[in-house]
Symmetry: C2
Subunit: 764 residues, 2 copies
């Protein structure tokens, strides 16, 4: 599907957006109704059917009191297990293991699992009933109606739980230590005992079994069970050489230091190793990688036979990735399978996946042709390595024969799994529209793609064990929620849940429009979302606010409920503001070159595009061109501050939350990907250093920061205030003490009251 088709789809959607012409006597919503964390928030989001998951090929739904099976053919429900029977067995029944404390009755089956399709067993975690608050992994057999296994997860507050259904072991971490447990009270600590000197402060010296590299490169966990459960690969991170960022908690009697290892751009970073624990021998080896200094070990995966481990390794410059194979028993490097480089950056985010029916073939994902696509490697067919050059100066080396499985100006977002019988890969992709995720099956032999589910909307899916069915959940601008069980052959399945939107039912909603404008480059189409004030009067002049993000990995506009407009945007429209959002160049799901045009100069191109949005606003007859505001958080806080300082003639009032002020203060992994280091790109860092523009402030700018923000450390905002003070300018400022990068819960309502008041004070 080419770009033309994409925009045709969008044009179609543009015609169907207006739902704001309701009767005007409806009630007004409050921030408590529309902000996550607000008192009535859940009353006004479309109802959902939660707890859906697969038990083999049986769709089940876990809820508080029951686990229910849902017939994939007709959606009929049947109760499999009740909370009462679980608690009867748990409290009164015979148990395979005597613990010295009792077990608390289970409150809900919501988080229970059914790992084995061939066993009528429900697993869950439950606390002991004593003050010891020991946690237990418990297996309940609903055929035998008894507890068939339980074991203790020793240690205080076990986290990062990773259960292996092949061997029945739980891997988990306590503090910085890594454990496995599978029997009674015995837990095995895998790492050596951490001493004071391993921990240059108590919390953060050596870390085992946790996510590393600050969750970049698709990393989200630190343990990796082998396919048959005989080995556990895990991350070990040495942070002792990393500078502490001194976070301060003021809620204690005297404020206390809570230092956080935070490697800043250009500074010394942590070192990562990959360990392999042998469950039977209880021995650990480490992969014999090259020097882990300034090297990222990403996307760990196992060969199906458990003999090999694959790691995608990236250099500190992030312009060079290698897929490397290691011997899982010895840790020896076996060889390089693939290499890829790009003059800007490469960013592997998905581990390789072996075809379940052919151990010699795996799928590698790469955006080397400009869009993330699937490449099938045949390890039976090594080839002589030559240096191939493709468009854009990027290079790659393939050490085996490779077949590109997907291609086009759209991108594969995820591999959900396989339909083994049909030799199909099930993927999520943007093929229908960059504003959507849809599910497709791909025939591995002929490449034919089949859409699963409706074309409309943004889909999330879970694939059944055999790969024959998905649970498909979607919503779109016109559909509040629809959940179906669908066969992967593209045929019709059974709808099991639909919901309407309680907001549109109850409130007088603003008109929301989707459209495109040209980027500042004069050729790229950018999506925008425009919200007119409730009770719109075309003869009035309204103030307008741009809600902006603008950074990589995010996209603010989808074909979803309200086109992703957040509650605050709707609320401001109700208060009489025109609200605009533009997904400028640099943002997600539009391909490599759309994103990386911002390389080494974050903010510059993105701002030009946002200014195009602002100019469009100013051209609207009902917008007061002198009253353009801007608000954003994180990268959007950087954008907001930057826009206020770079285009003060356009932007009069801004609220910047958790802003990046100087990329020198941002962390190594994310920051250097886009900006390189301060040493190698001084000009770029200078151009994006907002402290140097502090003297440009003319309008009203409020900076808001979480007092213990671990992502964008408070140093950003404090140094900006200092720069403004020195320059004689007057930003406003607010801090949410002890809060992190985002305000959540009731505090999020307070935040949006605060933001709203600021615009009301100075923009209205």
């Amino acid at each position: 599907m080419n770009l033309y088709k994409i925009f045709a789809v969008v044009a179609m959607m543009t015609l169907t957006v207006s739902n704001g012409t309701q009767a005007q006597q409806k009630a007004e919503f409050t921030l408590q109704d529309v902000i996550p964390g607000g008192k009535n928030y859940f009353k006004f989001v479309p109802k959902n059917m939660s707890g859906l998951k697969w038990w083999g090929d049986v769709c089940i739904r876990t809820e508080a009191k029951n686990i229910i099976s849902i017939d994939v053919k007709n959606g009929k429900e049947k109760t499999l297990v009740t909370l009462d029977e679980v608690n009867e067995a748990l409290i009164n029944g015979e148990k395979p293991y005597n613990i010295s404390y009792g077990i608390r009755p289970l409150q809900s089956l919501m988080y229970a699992s059914m790992p084995w399709h061939d066993r009528k067993v429900v697993t869950f975690i439950q606390d002991s009933d004593s003050k010891k608050s020991q946690k237990y992994m418990i297996w309940y057999d609903f055929a035998q109606k008894k507890i068939v296994n339980m074991f203790c997860l020793q240690g205080e507050n076990p986290t990062n739980l990773d259960f292996c259904k092949e061997n029945g072991y739980m891997a988990y971490t306590v503090g910085n230590n890594l454990y496995v447990a599978n029997k009674g009270d015995y837990s095995k600590m895998i790492n050596p005992v951490l001493t004071g000197s391993d921990n240059c402060n108590d919390k953060n010296g050596l870390v085992y079994g946790q996510s590393v590299h600050r969750n970049e490169f698709g990393i989200y966990k630190g343990t990796f069970w082998s396919p048959k459960g005989n080995f556990l690969a895990f991350y070990r991170m040495d942070q002792t050489m990393v500078t502490d960022y001194p976070q301060v908690n003021t809620t204690t009697r005297t404020a206390t230091l809570e230092p956080d290892k935070y490697p800043m751009a250009g500074m010394t970073s942590h070192k990562v190793n990959v360990g392999v624990y042998d469950v039977r021998s209880e021995k650990t080896i480490y992969l014999k990688t090259t020097d882990p200094t300034d090297r990222y070990f990403t996307n760990i995966s196992w060969s199906p036979d458990e003999k090999e481990i694959y790691v995608i390794e990236v250099n500190r410059d992030q312009d060079y990735a290698q897929l490397i194979r290691y011997d899982a028993e010895t840790g020896d490097m076996i060889g390089i399978l693939y290499e890829e480089s790009h003059p800007k950056y490469v960013e592997p985010q998905k581990p390789i996946v072996f075809l379940p029916w052919d151990d010699s073939k795996f799928i590698y994902q790469s955006q080397r042709d400009g869009f993330n696509h699937l490449y099938l490697f045949d390890t039976n067919k090594p080839k002589e390595v030559t240096l191939d050059l493709i468009e854009g100066m990027d290079k790659y080396k393939e050490y085996f024969e490779v077949k590109q499985l997907t291609k086009g100006e759209w991108l594969v977002q995820d591999i959900l799994g396989f339909n083994v019988q049909k030799k199909e890969i099930i993927i999520a992709s943007t093929e229908i529209s960059p504003l959507q995720t849809n599910i497709f099956s791909i025939n591995i032999n002929n490449g034919k793609r089949t859409l699963i589910g409706k074309e409309d909307g943004n889909h999330r899916a879970q694939l059944s064990e055999s790969g024959k069915y998905i649970i498909d959940s979607f919503n779109s601008f016109s559909v509040a929620r629809e959940i179906s069980i669908l066969p992967v052959n593209g045929k019709k399945g059974s709808n099991i849940f639909s919901a309407t939107d309680p907001m549109t039912d109850k409130f007088n909603m603003p008109e929301i429009t989707l459209g495109t404008i040209k980027a500042a480059d004069g050729k790229t189409d950018l999506y925008y979302r425009l919200i007119k004030p409730v009770d719109f009067d075309p003869n009035k002049k309204y103030p307008a606010i741009i809600y902006v993000y603008g950074g990589p990995h995010a996209q603010l506009i989808h074909n979803t409920r309200f086109y992703d407009a957040r509650g605050w945007d709707l609320y401001m429209a109700q208060k009489g503001y025109v609200m605009l959002t533009v997904d400028s160049r640099g943002s997600d799901n539009r391909g490599r070159d759309f994103e990386n045009c911002t390389f080494r100069q974050l903010g510059v191109e993105e701002m030009k595009d946002q200014v195009e949005g602002a100019k469009m606003l100013q051209s609207l007859p009902y917008v007061d061109a002198e009253k353009i505001g801007v608000h954003g958080w994180s990268f959007g806080g950087f954008m907001t501050t930057n826009l206020m300082l770079s285009y003060p003639e356009i932007f009069k009032v801004g609220v910047a939350g958790g802003p990046v002020i100087d990329w020198e203060y941002y962390e190594v992994m994310y920051g250097e990907r886009y900006m390189d280091t301060p040493q190698s790109n001084p000009e770029g860092y200078k151009r994006s250093n907002l402290k140097l523009k502090a003297g440009n402030l003319k309008g009203r700018l409020m900076i808001i920061h979480g007092g213990m923000d671990p992502t964008c450390v408070p140093q950003h905002s404090y140094t900006f205030l200092r720069a403004c003070i020195n320059a004689g300018t007057h930003p406003d400022f607010f801090i949410y003490p002890e809060s992190g990068h985002n305000m959540i819960g009731a505090e999020r309502v307070h935040l949006h009251e605060h933001i709203t008041r600021y615009f009301d004070d100075f923009l209205k």
Copy 2:
């Protein structure tokens, strides 16, 4: 002089206040003109003659290029020393000691001293010219025109310099170490080498030779030379057991922790010892005091024969003080000379002073009769100790015969010294008016007091070596500045400097009025200062702002230039605000009971009095009663926040700087004097805990804090924000990162721009 006379004086002043009836075509002043740190600030303060000091009984003036003598009889000037001759000797002349680096030429003689009345010697500190930046004490003989002595103050950044003219030694500190030096490159470190374990962090573990007890009890230094220079008494403070407050400096590459030992009310405090270093033997002993845990060692002084040391020791409750005599050679306690207690608190602030003509008699200062007065102890006349009770439940024990030297409803502020020939004590007191300091001599035999200098104004004085003359400098509401050399016999001396006020010369000034209102107790008179807007129009309704402090040890109104009105008050009057300040009960210079009515409930009585001021404002026909604002810093920030939360119907806009929010976060010495501990006064702490009133916020309140405020730690403001967030209220906030308790220099102008903008935004 009784209270009636005091108010009669005030009434007289009230009649003379109006100087605002100038022509209206004059220029307007800016914050740069009137805020200390502003670009033109020094252009608009009355000129001064600085560098005045005594050389024996010769008045000298040190300026950049010369040291000049001033004839005490007729004010005639004569150059004694020139900078050129000093530098000729310093750079080219023979020196008694060869240093490996050169010495930088001296830039100014401003900070030079002439310690010996019988030697033509000028002393000063100068740096070496190398990168080593070594400091030297240098003596220049202007009779011989050569450097007659110089020695090095070893170590980086020597501070707390304390020169002993009797022995020629300099005591000083480097880091936490105490040194003495008097020859060449040799410095003697008096304390044992501090090891890591002495310093639980590098900066603040064990501290030698520095001020202790957070500068309370009149303590401002940590070294005390004996009268003949044979011994050096010094403080040693062990802070290892004190909690660190985690201050963070965000100006470094990654923000860095700069912990500060900060004992909070009710928590473990530091321990102080007093050491005595014998210059000849180079040995140190420590006074054998009782357990220094929770004990304050204040007001150290020596007996004239150097055999004894006197310490006024105060218990942690601060309701019991003992004057104790120790043997300086052995450290043994010799005995108690005096004890004083009070159900609220005692607060010794001045060391005892021996009569220069009689080693057996010393003066003790006490406010035991309600006002600080002088008591002459005769150590030759021990008496049987009985427990005497006087009014107000306070108690004292005198172990010697004591004669009260001064008495009355006014207070002695300082002893400047003695006129030995006439057996007179020279003091500063509030006898003329509580709004003034005047200088008096007191005949020790008949108690007769003689006013030295004019009755009008606030006087500062330096006494000559013999005690026959003072350099008197004063200003008042009607006199911008006047400096005279006066004989202490009350006769006329010679005026050596007068200045007019450049503000009133150049600008259209507001009318400033002084007056009194009744305190909320219905009987106490309180002074107020009222400033009307420039170009006042009685038919207009103006917004009004109360500038408040309200805490002990401060008084905002004196008979000085503009009655102490600050530049910002004048500036706001120029912008069209009515400005009021009231010195409420609890403030300084009105005696013990006026101050201590706030005991154990800071804020309560003070606020009632400020509300009286606000009501007066609201009763004025030209004040908009709905537009009353309030601003204050530190204790005044506490008052501002408290007034906004306690009287929201009166106060609509407030700016609170560096506020105390919860006395639990304030330090032990100051805080517990007025509030006792949180453990012993939970109700009082609760009543003054502004977090508990966070939900009352109705108007607009901006909190401002120095990011590294070491006095009122940032925890106050952060926890208040948190309380407001939880209560759903919306204060505004600003922080001056890395700033301390007060903003100084250019930043002070920025601060007042920020404060002004806030009132303009929301009160105007």
